[in-house]
Symmetry: C2
Subunit: 680 residues, 2 copies
Amino acid sequence: MGKKLAKPKSQTPAAPSRVIITHVHPEIEGGRFPAKRVEGDIVAVTADIFTDGHDLISAVLLSRRQGESAWTESPMRGLVNDAWTGSFAVREQGIYEYTLQGWVDHFKSWQRNLAKKAEARQDVLTDLKIGAQLLEDGSRRAASEGAAAAAQKLNEWASLLRGSQSATASSGGGPAIDAAAATELALSGEVTALMAQYPDKRLAAVYDPVLQVVVDRARAGFSAWYEMFPRSWSSEPGKHGAFRDCEAHLPYIAAMGFDVLYLPPIHPIGHTYRKGKNNSPVAGPDDVGSPWAIGSEEGGHKALHPQLGRFEDLERLIARARDHGLEIALDIAYQCSPDHPYAKTHPEWFLHRPDGSIQYAENPPKKYQDIYPLNFESEHWQSLWEELKSVVLFWIGKGVRIFRVDNPHTKPFAFWEWLIREIKAEYPEVIFLAEAFTRPKVMQQLAKLGFSQSYTYFAWRNTTQELTEYFTELTRSEMAEYFRPNLWPNTPDILTEYLQSGGRPAFMARLVLAATLGANYGIYGPAFELCENKPLAPGMEEYLNAEKYEIRSWDLSRSDSLKELIARVNRARKENPALQSNSNLLFHKLDNDQLIAYSKMTADRSNVVLVVVNLDPRWAQSGWVNLPLEDLGLSPYIPFEIHDLLTGARYTWRGPRNYVRLDPNAIPAHLFRVGRPRSG
Amino acid sequence: MGKKLAKPKSQTPAAPSRVIITHVHPEIEGGRFPAKRVEGDIVAVTADIFTDGHDLISAVLLSRRQGESAWTESPMRGLVNDAWTGSFAVREQGIYEYTLQGWVDHFKSWQRNLAKKAEARQDVLTDLKIGAQLLEDGSRRAASEGAAAAAQKLNEWASLLRGSQSATASSGGGPAIDAAAATELALSGEVTALMAQYPDKRLAAVYDPVLQVVVDRARAGFSAWYEMFPRSWSSEPGKHGAFRDCEAHLPYIAAMGFDVLYLPPIHPIGHTYRKGKNNSPVAGPDDVGSPWAIGSEEGGHKALHPQLGRFEDLERLIARARDHGLEIALDIAYQCSPDHPYAKTHPEWFLHRPDGSIQYAENPPKKYQDIYPLNFESEHWQSLWEELKSVVLFWIGKGVRIFRVDNPHTKPFAFWEWLIREIKAEYPEVIFLAEAFTRPKVMQQLAKLGFSQSYTYFAWRNTTQELTEYFTELTRSEMAEYFRPNLWPNTPDILTEYLQSGGRPAFMARLVLAATLGANYGIYGPAFELCENKPLAPGMEEYLNAEKYEIRSWDLSRSDSLKELIARVNRARKENPALQSNSNLLFHKLDNDQLIAYSKMTADRSNVVLVVVNLDPRWAQSGWVNLPLEDLGLSPYIPFEIHDLLTGARYTWRGPRNYVRLDPNAIPAHLFRVGRPRSG
């Protein structure tokens, strides 16, 4: 039942509340930003709540969907050291609000004191009269809330307490009971429960500010992405692929168990200063250019590259993908080629050089003459913002609900905060992934202001120590409240040295790490499953013959493809709820630095997954894993079964120390389900 | 020169600032509470400041005294990882405000890009034209601020840049210079400095909220307190002492080096339910009662106990104390004896029992019938607050500026916040010490809301581990910003088990710990210097024959008195600035848990003090101290002299590990000044 917070009117202002509510969690920058959850989550809220002196207090958590006027109350429970905790469920997408209310509970304090006095066999007749008054006050509150039966009950009890007499005194007529019986009644569960329903909140404190939590659909918290260049998927090598070619390959991608299919920009590509193969500054006549050089005479951000197909083709791809359990994600890259229509129709959105030409992108001494950045400091910023919003709405209109945002850190934070809030107010199901590999504070700010998921430094965290430190920060610091990591072992721009030098074993290790350390992860394929690892030049992270600049043709049937392993990993993710969130990630001690071990489990510990990965792509490594059995719900005396979901092998372990050996030339990882395996 | 933050008017709203300012320190609960400093301090402020993209930013710290309209700007300096730092001086008592301003610095960015292009020998003629525009804009800003000379200079440079030609081109007439010379000019210190004076702040971000720091006088941060019961200081044993008797003992107290002389309540004492000796519930006819049972027919909180003297006696004591470098602190205990005038004149300020009598204090099953607590939830809370404020103002009128507040945690937090703010608005020099030994969050809240100093758990932190953990929290956590510890090894209520069992060596150890771990400390004397350590009963922390309930007579000339040691310790505190603040407290490793070692040093490391204490009051203990020489400004190769300020002994140490041995039967502590001793 909803409650409003209106205070009773009074002639003189009531005394300020004696209750302090502080250190509320989650609370990001004093409530400036919302926390993030997915639908169905339980939001646990903790706070320090206390009052002066020795009186007892009570507190409730108040929550509501944004826009509702009434609050729902959930009880809060005192822990140690003035910390309190409570929770509320977020069942639907959108924004929820929450705050806390606490008050000095005179009735509860009175009960405590009465119990102590009774125990010390002190005279309590005066106390019972005071209690009668408290019950009568409660009765009036019940009556004013229309609870006539409760009001009457409370009044009856009040009469009994008021009329009670000491056991030694002679009892007259009327409803008198002796003090011992009155004490017992006053401390009874029945009285306690009814008074708790009608507490005296006249001097209650309400936490200010009201805090928010953004509730996304489940996929924002758990997803497996597959990135592909549609133009490379033609069945005829060298020919420009189209949406229809993608359609044909949906079963291939779905069989690996992905649920998001992300396409780089699908718009017309500029020809002025078009980049050639291998990022050459000069393009040949047949060079297709980078999809991120958006816009030509054929259109801009709301147009399709003619060779990919028409809108009906895209819409059919979206529908067919859905049939395969795949959702299409598009790329939002707010930048223009010199041939973009905006350059002619809206020159005011760009910075101009003294000669009147539009300023191209540069990072001196490098020039990027194929790109015109938008000028967000333009006097015409408002029309620019509106236009950019209309781009997102346009693709929403085509059925797209997931956007991977290119280089968000090169556009103003205030713009993103506005854009995402505007879009999600109308379409709360939209997911924005921030592609930013930049300074930590910048990446955090993008996540705080609203991005649903974020790229991370995962690609460059290779050792046990690096991974442990980074994922402890991601899952144990305040970042866990607002930053949802999406882990990519590779991207079209990033081929790490580890993958270059480690080859297939390295790809396998990084796959398992990405898919199990993070509830959200993705790969750039087929480069990933085919272990593409030749760099443009030694020491560079760019690919040789990068798909960004040319059409590639992939032999998907190669026998060394990782597609089977990927399918097993994604199946393990789907079947084990422990892998579907980032909380409860625990790293375990091992006596070999080349191995990393960690577990994840559900809050009720019904599902426990243990992962061990050999980070050395060359040699077999072995060691002893130390498990905190109690934390994992295991007995040190009873053997437990572990089931490797990658190989199907089953082992029986016992006690905290157990031996593992992983050969990178087979599979460099264990992905164990711990405990008695369920069916399947 | 002060600056205002008014923004230029414009037809269309300017684009939102691209600069983010976040994670500002100090900032307590989002600016809800002020940080604390003392006059003369430098307030260092750090924040994360960044923008999107690759532009450079500039930032300033803005500060002012509360009430001033103009801000003073101090430059901020970028550190690593988007952290910035700046500082401002707080020269006077009162409240200062501060905030931050940051902006994208297009001129600085342009200079950086120009330098890179010039280094890469690219053509920069277009860039120089862009720079000319930036200089002209700067010139206009200078002109609008009335800086005609600067405006002209900037315009001249702009002309040079605009007219520059590539070195190969033939130079016509006019002021043309070649591009290399123009670049050199544009990057010169002269141009940089002048442009930095007239930055383009149109799109600057200003941090919201404005933050505050309360600046107290120096004594709030550095003080040595001596607590005494005036009635025990008569020269005639057993006779009720008076202010005049205290006067006679001022030289004794001053010789020990204290600067605050704190008197328990000096008001008339109630006789109803007066407590007898040793807290007996029944007082004999000669029992003097507890000074905290305030009020009788002779007056309440604004009256003097007749046997102590008259107001002129108090005022003379205050003046004489000042002559000895001692400031009198009074006790504020907002509670009443049943005989207090308020009980008759303002019954509405108390809670009443069903029989109409006023509710006495209780902590069931204990009753404190000699005390009536005030009811802060009364409808008449406003007149109560005003009256309580008038009590403080009354004693301020008598010349008192330091108040030790009894049991502040049993009165509402909102009341204290109001009271302290009201008093300090008029009398910023007033110091309030919170006597609260209660839950950590409650003690923190009292300090946050305004108490200048706070009692601590020091009395119960005895081991190396306990002391290290507690003082790390006090000096390294956010508490350092608002919680000024005042360390008391004993009080009239607290005789710890450590002092009871450890005797004189324990008193010496605790003295040195209190006086050197905390810039503020105090002792309850003469019980302390005479090592009074008999408990009321085994296992109790109360004194036998507690001075709270009876007149004691002390033999100040006893040969085992610690007064000489106390004088040496207080002299060391006065002569070593390192001991006058709590920052830079560093604990050092030792291979013997019975010993504790720590150092304090001034920010410039010109004064370094090293303390080693034997915590075992029974046996001599020895061990090796490990010093972080580099942190202390010492060389590992050059011997350094240490001078024990307690014994006068001098030693030469070398390297990080040095041997100490402390015998509790001599002096269980070293208080070393490190480095070449200065005179004296």
